[in-house]
């Protein structure tokens, strides 16, 4: 009696399996070459040393991580087939997949995991020290079991084990050598579905199918070629002509995406960026007038017309941001829009009133204050964005002079010298707020000389406390509650203006299927991608 439903389910499942198998096998064809436009050309293939964006688009085809993630940002099996987190959150046991081999034929074992985390990622990866800071020891009771011992619970660590964030490296090739100067930096040997073949600088990188890949039958593509074309118009033309099949992360300018998306053979999607979650901002220096005053900061926040920026600078790709945490974190419950809103129709009016209250009266020429606004030196959209901000500030009587410098000078000005008043910026929320968000608001993250941390100089003891609690809170509901309160406090304090959640768009040729299958998007391994031609 009790067993009957289970049996029925099993039979059904088997039947469905039998019925579906030939169909899926028929749909996923073997063969084909995928040409991806990667912009700019990566400086290196050593994804364990540098997190520079384009590296992730190529190195992830070779190196894999312990985990992959689904669109709900839940971990799913990668090189680890299963895992168990101890009740106290301080012990995490991973069981590794069997039969995984590196591209040189040597087996992938628990020793490689231990080496990668403790000897490479924690030492040389830019975010590795933060990700694995609570790891006290890694035990390897057998070849396929890895046990992470933590000092305090670290829920965010489970979000940072993808092949992009924490690649697993071959111990036998790196051990005993200087990891930072390894000869395998630019001829990577990993476990991934594609093997690195060659890199013609300034032109392309080639990756060929790994026939011994541990997921039997995959990958479906024969080859992936990453092409580097410096001129944006030429990139668009290459996609249009079918010479290249895919481009993401602004490889295709936002202004061209709409044109391409109208053509029947192309698909444009904003999926696959759920673990980067960039927010376009205006950062105040809260140490200096006029933005040492909360009211003048809030006035600027009110003055920015989010819709105009999204529609005219980013051509409709984006949505108004409400606070420090991107709405991409909604599936985890971390996001809330129940905060003070600066995106209101009568923003200019409120802004003028706030500035009056702040004691910044208009002079005879209508100017209340003169400031310098630093542009983000990342290209055209960013210049337009700066020009818009200048005009928006003019409406509330703040006369802004634009300053455009090269990237190193700008970074030094913002993050070392704190010699600025207001700067455009954009920061990624990454896989977990602990890694991507805390760095901008925590008092301990005011670290002169370190880039992309708290340069506004704003902090609040209460917000710090909430972040500290959320860092070690293993209960997702409690963690979510902490973040909701955190967002309220930070939005009230207005250390920066959250303008909009930047949406990158991936344009690809519909001939290819299953390209974007996870929140990692272009940072995934493409083992399921196939060509339907």
């Amino acid at each position: 009696m009790l067993r009957a439903p289970a049996v029925r389910v099993a039979v059904l499942a088997a039947l469905t399996g039998v019925l579906c198998l030939p169909m899926t096998a028929a749909a996923q064809k073997r063969g084909g070459t995928l040409v991806v436009l990667v912009q700019p050309e990566p400086p290196t293939l050593a994804s364990y040393i540098s997190t520079s964006g384009p590296i992730g688009q190529v190195a992830t085809k070779v190196y894999e991580g312990l985990l992959e993630y689904d669109f709900n940002l839940k971990p799913i099996p990668g090189l680890a087939e299963s895992w168990k987190i101890g009740a106290d959150g301080k012990t995490i046991t991973f069981v590794l997949q069997k039969g995984v081999r590196f591209h040189d034929g040597k087996p992938f074992t628990s020793a490689d995991v231990k080496f990668s985390v403790l000897d490479v990622l924690r030492k040389v990866h830019p975010r590795g020290a933060a990700t694995f800071r609570e790891v006290t020891e890694i035990e390897t009771p057998d070849e396929h079991t890895v046990v992470f011992k933590l000092a305090t619970p670290a829920p965010y660590m489970m979000m940072a084990l993808s092949g992009y964030e924490s690649p697993m490296l071959p111990k036998h090739l790196f051990e005993g050598t200087d990891v930072k100067a390894s000869k395998y930096a630019n001829s990577p040997i990993g476990t991934g579905p594609f093997k690195f073949v060659e890199w013609q600088r300034g032109q392309f990188m080639r990756f060929d199918r790994n026939p011994d890949y541990w997921r039997k039958g995959r990958p479906y593509l024969d080859r992936i070629v990453a092409r580097f074309i410096a001129d944006s118009a030429t990139r668009t033309a290459a996609i249009e002509k079918g010479e290249a099949h895919m481009g993401g992360f602004a490889a295709i300018p936002w202004s061209d995406v709409k044109t391409l998306a109208k053509l029947p053979q192309f698909e444009a999607t904003t999926k696959g960026y759920e673990m980067s979650s960039p927010i376009v901002q205006l950062d105040f220096n809260t140490r200096r007038p006029p933005f040492d005053n909360l009211k003048s900061r809030q006035a600027v926040a009110y003055a920015v017309n989010r819709k105009f920026v999204i529609d005219n600078v980013w051509f409709g790709w984006g949505k108004p941001a409400t606070g420090p945490i991107s709405s991409n974190f909604a599936p985890l419950g971390f996001y809330t829009n129940e905060v003070k809103s600066y995106n209101v129709p009568n923003g200019i009016e409120i802004a003028n009133k706030l500035l009056d209250e702040a004691g910044l009266k208009r002079g005879a020429d209508g100017v209340r204050a003169e400031i310098v606004h630093d542009l983000t030196p990342y290209g055209e959209e960013w210049q337009r964005y700066g020009e818009y901000v200048q005009q928006a500030l003019a409406e509330i009587g703040i006369k802004a002079t634009l300053r455009y410098e090269d990237v190193p000078t700008w970074l030094k000005r913002l993050y070392t010298d704190y010699d600025f008043q207001l700067s455009s910026n954009w920061i990624q929320g990454l896989a977990d707020p602990v890694i991507g968000v805390h760095r901008l608001y925590h008092g301990k993250q005011i670290r002169p000389g370190t880039v992309f941390v708290n340069e506004t100089g704003w902090s609040s003891p209460k917000a710090d406390e909430l972040m500290d609690q959320a860092t070690v809170e293993v209960n997702p509901k409690k963690r979510a509650a902490l973040y909701k309160e955190f967002q309220k406090i930070v939005v009230d304090g207005s250390p920066l203006v959250w303008v909009h959640e930047l949406q990158f768009v991936t344009v690809y040729n519909k001939q290819f299927k299953d390209l974007i299958v996870s929140p990692l998007g272009l940072y995934a391994s493409f083992d399921r991608a196939y060509s339907d031609k």
Partner: protein, 275 residues
């Protein structure tokens, strides 16, 4: 001087150049009256085509293209004239000293000049602007730095030729100071080639400024034609007027200056004067 004007106005290319240039100057001078306020101000919905509500339409952020053209004319002319003035002054002083005194000083100055000439002009200008941070001042400096060597070589050549002429020897025998000989007697005699080169340098300076702005190295607070082209380039296929109109403005201005320069050359060159 009346003879000079008569000859100049008798030259067809000079007249065409002068007329176009006069229009540009009038537009530039009246920009604050015709289009008051900042040319970066939003006036309408973005991408309004030309010859509608706005003479030349609006751009990606809804800015008036005609206002940009008028204010951009000021920038182009100002930079062209300022940079050329600096380049001609520096080039003349160095060329005159080298040509007049000769010897070691000549060697030193000319090797220095050649050092500057070996660096590709435009790349050099880009590097200078990048180092100095983009602003009107750094652009003027960059254009002057890459433009003076040509003037210096020219002036030196003229001075070398005039230095041993009898009237110069006579001046020296009369006990005139070097300064007086140089400025009162030699320099006036090589003024015409300097004027011709100078006028062409203005055209080059305008082109360099446009190219720098096109590459995003212009002063972000100042409207310029090159900036308009650079910002409109992305929309060449959807909004042709954003690049075409400022492009025409540059073409006409540079052409006018070149025509005028040629006319000046014909007028001032004694060998062509009688033909």
């Amino acid at each position: 001087m009346p003879g000079f004007w008569r000859r100049l106005l008798g030259n067809r290319s000079a007249i065409i150049g002068l007329v176009i240039l006069a229009v540009v100057v009038v537009v530039a001078a009246s920009a604050p009256v015709l289009f008051p306020g900042s040319p970066f101000r939003r006036v309408d919905r973005p991408f309004q085509p030309p010859f509608g509500a706005h003479l030349f339409g609006t751009d990606v952020l809804g800015r008036n293209v005609a206002a940009g053209i008028a204010h951009g004319a000021r920038t182009s002319l100002m930079i062209g004239i300022l940079a050329t003035t600096v380049a001609v002054l520096v080039g003349t002083v160095i060329g005159a000293a080298a040509g007049y005194y000769g010897g070691r000083l000549d060697d030193l100055l000319m090797r220095t000049t050649e050092f500057f000439q070996t660096i590709p002009t435009f790349l050099f200008a880009i590097i200078l602007v990048a180092i100095l941070a983009p602003s009107i001042r750094s652009i003027v400096i960059a254009i002057a730095v890459v433009s003076w060597p040509a003037v210096a070589r020219l002036v030196r050549g003229e001075f070398l030729a005039l230095r041993h002429r009898e009237f110069v020897h006579a001046c020296i025998c009369l006990g005139m100071s070097d300064r007086r000989v140089i400025f009162r007697h030699v320099l006036p005699n090589c003024l015409s080639p300097i004027i011709v080169t100078g006028s062409l340098t203005v055209a080059t300076a305008i082109l360099i400024e446009s190219a720098l702005s096109f590459l995003g190295l212009g002063d972000p607070n100042v409207m310029s034609w090159g900036f308009m082209i650079g910002a409109g380039r992305t929309f060449l296929r959807t909004a042709w007027w954003l690049c075409t109109i400022p492009g025409m403005a540059i073409l006409l201005t540079v052409l006018a200056i070149n025509l005028l320069g040629e006319g000046l050359n014909d007028t001032l060159n004694p060998r062509l004067r009688n033909s």
